[in-house]
């Protein structure tokens, strides 16, 4: 009898300790600040409960900017007055957004493209680091003012963290960088500007990392659709194929290709890398003799260049590469190499991959008919949780409801009801601790899910109190079977990339697991 009582007291004490850790925390002195800080991991809250990045985009009033040769190179949003002056560019009075494009239909198209960017956004990475909160980037709110085209966006503040928990990059900043980029892709003749292919013929764009023995190369791979593939094959095997003499020159002058456009075909990349060192040595030896013969060859080269037709690739209205092709592109894929030398530093590779992933997102989401600029881009605290009085009222009301329910349990089942009530409080404490340790993001849906789990646990405890010891196994089996559908729902929601439902699913998933395990180990034994 005494032994049983001791066991019972030990169990109750264990529950109380869990309650203390979960509700009050474990305070330890910080070595640096000498302040007492809570050692228990904090709650991870969603944007609706914590805060979010608020971005306001307005229709740009930028005018076109031309280079020395009168070629369009951008707009006044891209170049400051000082850079225009120093580079001898010309600022025109032609606005980028003409009157005819500023209409409700185009405002809506821009809104939809921005939404596509938010949905498509994914930062590819080389390292195995964790992208903290990445799934919740889809937890956005977007609206457009149809009178002036102003677009308002809310996205969660998200960062990428390494294994040690240090922030590596601000995920949200990369997302923001895609929003005003107009997008679009064109494959043109470099001389006549005749457009052969546009973004409409693009099937998919993605960032690719090719890891060779000497290091990694990052590519932007553009895959065209059926029409695009056929057209590309036709162009690269026809008049845009490299003229024989040029091919020889290219072999002799490996640096030339790099200077021209920082891009080659992916299949040629490895070969080029291996031969690079040898060629650089050869080049230095040949330098002198080349100088002597260069003057004689200059005229011939100019002539050949005139005959050699080249394709120019434009991304977001800017020329990225101009080149002819040694071999026809038959698979409809163009891979633009971003780095000329193999990279070995993981952080550098990641930075390149982030940049290319951002471009891929822009190209996969479509071309915006209107140029926008950022009017506001700032972090804003949630208005749902900034009212302390309201928070206290909600928490107090929840505790009161819980206490009434537990009082009913105690009145109805006396001593075993009291023990079950203690177990219930222990369940709440363990559940809240588990959600923090499992790194679950708590959203409003997550709170509803927690509420549901607590109700189910209460009903289950009442059933346990009603049933005799020998019937409990049967009861457990019944309850587990009854929870199969909602457990399936929780898994589906957990797998959904959308943060709101993900939070609901995660809270429910851990709740159901804990409910079965905790009640079997703790409640059941305590009531006995």
């Amino acid at each position: 009898m005494k032994e049983n009582r001791l066991k019972l007291i030990t169990k109750i004490l264990a529950i109380l300790i869990i309650c203390l850790i979960s509700f009050a925390g474990v305070y330890v002195q910080n070595e640096n600040s000498k302040k007492m800080t809570n050692g228990v991991i904090g709650y991870k809250l969603s944007k609706d409960l914590q805060g979010y990045r608020q971005i306001v985009l307005e229709v740009s009033d930028a005018t076109k900017v031309l280079d020395k040769d009168g070629k369009l190179i951008g707009n006044t949003d891209d170049y400051s007055d000082s850079s225009i002056e120093s580079n001898e560019y010309t600022k025109t009075s032609d606005v980028v957004n003409t009157e005819d494009v500023l209409n409700v239909e185009n405002y809506q198209i821009c809104r939809d493209i921005i939404e596509a960017k938010l949905n498509n956004f994914k930062l590819k990475e080389f390292s195995d680091d964790v992208i903290d909160n990445a799934a919740t980037i889809q937890d956005y709110n977007i609206s457009v003012n149809k009178e002036n085209g102003l677009i308002y966006i809310q996205i969660p503040e998200t960062s990428k963290k390494d294994a040690a928990g240090n922030t590596k990059c601000n995920y949200t900043d990369y997302v923001v960088s895609t929003l005003t980029n107009i997008g679009g892709l064109e494959l043109r003749d470099s001389e006549t500007d005749e457009v052969f292919l546009t973004e409409e013929h693009v099937k998919n764009v993605e960032a690719i990392c090719n890891n060779t023995g000497s290091g990694a190369y990052v590519y932007l791979q553009i895959e065209f659709d059926k029409f695009g593939t056929d057209k590309l094959k036709e162009l690269t095997s026809g008049e845009y194929a490299t003229v024989e003499d040029e091919k020889d020159e290219a072999a002799e002058e490996p640096d030339k290709e790099e200077n021209e456009g920082e891009a080659t075909e992916e299949s040629n990349k490895e070969e080029k890398e291996n031969s690079e060192d040898k060629k650089s040595e050869e080049n230095s030896n040949k330098e002198k003799s080349e100088d002597e013969t260069s003057e004689e060859n200059d005229e011939d080269e100019d002539e050949e260049k005139k005959n050699q037709k080249e394709l120019a690739l434009y991304i977001s209205g800017r020329e990225v590469i101009t080149q002819s092709f040694d071999e026809p592109l038959e698979d409809g894929k163009i891979a633009l190499s971003i780095n000329n030398k193999a990279m070995t530093d993981v952080d550098t590779i990641d930075q390149y991959l982030y940049s290319v992933s951002t471009t891929a997102t822009i190209l996969n989401s479509g071309k915006m008919p209107i140029l926008y600029k950022v009017q506001e881009n700032q972090y804003v605290a949630s208005e749902l949780t900034n009212n302390e009085t309201r928070n206290i009222i909600i928490i107090t009301a929840t505790i009161v409801i819980m206490l009434i329910a537990l009082a009913y349990m105690i009145i109805k089942h006396k001593a075993s009801g009291f023990l079950s009530a203690i177990s219930f409080i222990g369940f709440v404490a363990t559940y809240l601790l588990l959600l923090r340790l499992a790194n679950v993001t708590i959203s409003l849906e997550g709170i509803v899910s927690i509420g549901l789990i607590l109700v189910i646990n209460y009903l289950f405890n009442m059933l346990l109190l009603k049933n005799k010891q020998d019937e409990k196994k049967k009861l457990y089996k019944e309850v587990i079977l009854k929870m199969v559908p909602i457990f399936a729902i929780s898994i589906i929601f957990t797998l959904v990339g959308w943060g709101v439902l993900n939070s609901f699913g995660m809270c429910m998933f851990w709740g159901i697991i804990l409910l079965v395990v905790y009640n079997w180990i703790v409640t059941n034994k305590l009531i006995d």
Partner: protein, 218 residues
């Protein structure tokens, strides 16, 4: 049995009324999903949200829906989001703000930003595929296998019909009673959907048990 039909009739009537209200007046969307005006006030010192709340109440009044948010993490800037705000009201708010904090905020540098509303279909579409379609299909497959003795027609009708009716009933009440439609109501909507599935499972399990007992008796 009669009672059951009366309850169903009442639910149907509420749903019809809800649809009528939704079609004629729409939902009473929460401010985050409605058309709204926004201004931002900043200072070099700390800004107290309660002070700004008082200034807003003096100028615009508390009848207009609004909220005040802290901007960035330095505590010296706030954003006022209101259902309606004129430029004159903005001027008065800036004057009172300057007076309170000895600030030099210029009215022209505090633009009144007009934010458009969020469409209900844009808000709901993310819930429809995972919550509405995928889960129902998975649960139906499970129910068809486990409760085959109940009859597939009954299982299908109840599994699809009851959650849909429950959601329609909830959103009808929100439309009729002019309860703000927004993040909290949507979260409760998801909760009701899962709770309905849990209750349905419980009922089907009990029915299955009864049928098995009857079969064994027979």
């Amino acid at each position: 049995m009669k009672k059951k039909y009366i309850i169903i009739a009442i639910i149907c009537l509420i749903i019809i009324a809800g649809v009528v209200v939704w079609k004629t007046q729409g939902f009473n969307k929460e401010l985050q999903y409605s058309s709204r005006k926004q201004i931002q006030l900043g200072n070099s010192t700390r800004v107290d949200i309660n002070d700004v709340e008082e200034i807003y109440a003096e100028v615009v009044g508390n009848d207009t829906r609004h909220f005040i948010q802290e901007v960035e993490i330095f505590g010296n800037s706030v954003s006022i989001v209101s259902e309606n705000m004129t430029e004159e009201q903005r001027d008065q708010i800036v004057d009172k703000f300057n007076e309170k904090y000895n600030g030099k905020l210029e009215k022209d540098k505090v633009p009144v930003i007009s934010i458009g509303f969020t469409r209900v279909k844009d808000v709901l579409k993310n819930y429809i595929l995972p919550a509405g379609i995928i889960t129902i299909v998975v649960i139906l497959i499970y129910f068809f296998i486990r409760f085959k003795n109940i009859g597939w027609k009954k299982v299908l009708l109840k599994t699809v019909g009851i959650p849909v009716l429950a959601e329609l009933f909830m959103f009808s009440l929100i439309a009729i009673c002019r309860i703000p439609f927004g993040r909290i109501s949507l979260a409760i909507g998801v909760g009701i959907y899962v709770a309905t599935i849990a209750i349905l499972t419980n009922n089907f399990e009990n029915e299955r048990k009864k049928l098995q007992e009857n079969e064994s008796k027979a």
